[in-house]
Symmetry: C2
Subunit: 326 residues, 2 copies
Amino acid sequence: MPDTRLDLDRIRAARRVIDPVFLDTPLFRCEALGRALGCAVSIKLETANPVRSFKGRGTELVASGLSEQGRTAAVCASAGNLGWALGWSGRRRGLETTVVASRRAPAAKLDRIRALGAVLELVDGDFDMARERAASMARQRGVRLVEDSLDIETCEGAATIGLELTRRPPDFDTVLIALGGGAMATGVGHVLKSLAPEVEVICVQPHGAPAMTRSWHERRVVTTDSTDTIADGVAGRHPIPAVLDDLLKVADDAVLVQEASIVTGMRMLMEHAGLIVEPSAALGVAAVLEDPGRFAGRHLVTIICGSNVNLDDYHRWGAGRPATSP
Amino acid sequence: MPDTRLDLDRIRAARRVIDPVFLDTPLFRCEALGRALGCAVSIKLETANPVRSFKGRGTELVASGLSEQGRTAAVCASAGNLGWALGWSGRRRGLETTVVASRRAPAAKLDRIRALGAVLELVDGDFDMARERAASMARQRGVRLVEDSLDIETCEGAATIGLELTRRPPDFDTVLIALGGGAMATGVGHVLKSLAPEVEVICVQPHGAPAMTRSWHERRVVTTDSTDTIADGVAGRHPIPAVLDDLLKVADDAVLVQEASIVTGMRMLMEHAGLIVEPSAALGVAAVLEDPGRFAGRHLVTIICGSNVNLDDYHRWGAGRPATSP
């Protein structure tokens, strides 16, 4: 049992709080994708819910806790998915939710946050600048700042994915997890290392946003000055020390992938699995594409963590084009 | 309780036979699609499984029954989905599966049937010609002919979708069901009319393959000479009398939609729900598009029955193009 901020009993209890629409998501073998990648591939699909990402698992815990405390408002910084999910969970419980996002975030994600009735504040700059602005707003107004990966509920919510993966003795040997702030990686990783320690936990991040991966390899917080990746959902520059500590205890490896591999991964998920995914959700496939020898003959699970992608971007990147077409 | 060939106890028992990977599929509100259509829309997603359609529910029952009887082979005619599902269920139980398909069936579907180790026989002509050829092969070889919609297991398998829709008191008032041979419509319809009779059951078929819809309206079997639709999964010319009898007892309406509406429906499902679907799965959305006044303000469920589509076709039809692009 790794000694992290996470706790199995709390994660199990979380299942009773989270709206069932986010739980017990599909887990299935995709033979066509496996043939194309030279290994067995199972997909854990986190996109078939009202907010099209796994983030609802965590925001349900956050919003439920706030509601029990009689709080009426929350603010978060978000590249889109956390904001949409917090807006959804907050609306159900009568919370006023303010989401601070980069003006560069996908328009489709921002529109959906507005449609929930959440207040949307846009900042010029990247995710970390949105995080600073959200923090100062929360201080000024005295409302709860929801911080992805730092707030334990966001990790515990993601960790319920791990419970579902280990419900039966795993027939897979590897789980590939998109790495951004680290909520999903530490949450799922904690459960896997507790209940199925033989399964290899591999985190995947873009070369264009490598801060947490570099930090994991150097065993200390490494920040970067900028990010440059289409995978907006995992593009942070300032790893959170407590999250890095946990990640060091539950991840077996952390790898970086090229943008071109992410696009090819998106295209393969469309072609072989019929799935439209956002770039972050293709990181696992990208990792296999860049190191096929490592994964040959193995049975891996890749968590398809979100499908919130601007379709114009998707087509501009070439993700929507069948590989067989010119 | 409608007096059909179906029986609730048998449908409930079917859940214990069907591989869990096909059961308890996602059911979730898609607010973006609802806003675009002027009503509340929930999606029942039948594509997140190893064969990317709902057909595995039925073929699990068929193959399990054959296996219990000590049979070693089965043959079916299929536009693709039944064949893939029967091949999958048969392989698990050591059955030799032969699938007879039209040479016009999508190449991607045919490749996946071959990859399962099933024997694939192609005929020049449409689905009904494949059906005749499969029947004669089964007679000659003395093996079980699996007939979609006629064989009660195919209806009972689909009917388990109905159990999942009615697990809690429905908050929807309408279910839109793609109508082809009638297995899904009679199966789901039977459960709805038994457990939630106030819910309107509306079947949707393309104008280009209208035989069952015309039969339902005329209350007698009406056949057509040909079919002309991109919705290959529902393109039959010869309704089965016993299935029509059941459909008359469980469907509240049966409507026909244009090809252009099917393509727009596919595009909307991509744009607003992030789902790649095959044409049959867009019939429900197409029905709303053609009669928005009828559905305004209602809460409908549309069953996304399959995502097996040739991506070249998908793009050629224009289904992959965002509506906002030129």
